[in-house]
Symmetry: C3
């Protein structure tokens, strides 16, 4: 049993999904991932098990497991819920037992009937503004207070968040202590950070806040 | 090594005990549980090891391990404390070594002398009020902010906490976003919850607060 | 995989170092410790792997692993950083892979070239004041709110922090509920504690605060 994290804030399906995206294929073929962020437990939302790229994933059908559903060979089944299952704790009564059965060599199809349209959530795409600039948003705040955006842009020079222009640097140590900036994080997305601090607190950033990419380095000279 | 949780708040023996109750028998025969919430470390409180229903439990004798002591076949020994043990860190110096010895096939009786009266704490019982209504209390708040009560009552219609009457529903998704209610949690006890929120914050609930069950659905007609 | 802790606050290399000191030799020969508290990720700071007393340690060269470097037989190498490694996530891209290679029986020297002067940080030493009294400081606050000092002193009678004189006792249970005191913690250092409370909050203590040891019990009579 490897505990990837128990630090996803309650109900934060989006950060859970980004975490699944980051890790699910880094574990070897045959791995069974059990991932649960489940504000809809007990509702009509289904539970699913997925086989994708040789790995298995088990959890609620609420978009959390989307990264594994995007591959062409992905298969998913809708889990059967025993009548004895608690209405509020499917982690214990539905998902963990399904994961165990997969580890005990059950076939995916033994766990339920084919799920033809599992829910897929994607990172929202950045859009172009009136001047052609790239406009995105904060999609998550991690436990270090880094604000992860949906912006890609290795050739940009800065990111604007609120009224602040933050230089795009390569790593934390390019910033002075306490200084704010932006950098390309481990997922390839631009993150807004404060060296030795919490960007979300220092800059009052939260999910959904608009951010804007400042292109560079070529500008038309003003003469 | 399976880390059930490191999220019991410091000194919260009661939530630790509820967690032991929830999990100790869900692990297979032969499992050794090491459970430590130990505000009395270094005092005269004893350490104990228990054999019960084929499982073993090791920890402080402060009621934390009560669920395993309630079975008729339970046996307990009082752990010997080596003179070299730190006065403040029995987890490292007393309990973990005892757990390891059990895993290495020591007999329970090798670890100490019989403990004839280990401390047993029970969930306080709800009582009947003047109108025959069931009056209980909040016995714990979990990490989601759910307020766990000592009320059982699947046929009730609502729970009153402070000045609020909260409908008893089956699951979170029966509530509107941000709405407060009560439901039967995974332990069979009624919990007061807020959908996508923290009931303890929204309703200012803390351990010891009085709660009252509203019976239903049969009421004596007023004619 | 044993998760010693994920509760070191971000950037707190000092508490990380104390935690390494507490545990690295308690695991058996052949253990590979992966320890990462890494505010300088992506800077010129090196990554290192250490062989010491039969154990291996992998992490940033920022003093975190100092306890293992202090032994005379310690050897260290500077880890090679692949060009494909993320600039911000060496835990995933540099340190974990090096730890895996050691577990797969690589030799330390296979991982990089000898590191001749790895960074060593030590607990700051207490000093003597004008009256010969021992003056130290709070070097860390743990998750229970205990303020760990750099004072040794089993024969002292009290510790002064700010305007308060705190009696030196043997264990928490020597204090009244909510009472403040000092005791020798599991590392041998004096800690300032509050029974069933958080000393750091109750006494407003933070890292770097000055503390002073009150000698005892022999005093020169004033005649």
């Amino acid at each position: 049993v490897v505990d990837i994290t128990h630090e996803i804030p309650p109900q934060d399906v989006e950060l859970g999904r980004l975490t699944v995206a980051r890790y699910w294929r880094r574990f070897p073929s045959g791995t069974v991932h059990l991932a649960i962020v489940d504000p809809g437990v007990g509702s009509e939302r289904a539970g699913i098990a997925i086989a994708s790229d040789g790995r298995f994933l088990v959890g609620p059908d609420n978009g959390l497991l989307s990264p594994a559903l995007l591959l062409p060979d992905a298969r998913a089944v809708q889990l059967h819920v025993a009548r004895t299952a608690s209405a509020t704790f499917h982690g214990r009564d539905v998902f963990a037992p399904a994961a165990i059965r997969l580890l005990a060599d059950a076939q995916l199809e033994d766990l339920g009937s084919a799920a033809s349209t599992p829910i897929i959530r994607r990172t929202p795409e950045a859009r172009r503004g009136a001047q052609g600039e790239l406009i995105g948003e904060v999609i998550s705040v991690d436990r270090f207070g880094n604000a992860i955006t949906n912006l890609l842009g290795r050739r940009a020079t800065a990111v604007v968040a609120g009224s602040q222009e933050l230089p795009l640097c390569r790593t934390y140590s390019d910033l002075p202590a306490g200084g704010a900036g932006a950098l390309v994080g481990s997922t390839g997305l631009i993150e807004i950070v404060v060296r030795d601090g919490r960007a979300s607190d220092v800059l009052s950033l939260a999910r959904g806040d608009t951010v804007r990419l400042v292109d560079g380095p070529v500008r038309t000279p003003s003469r």
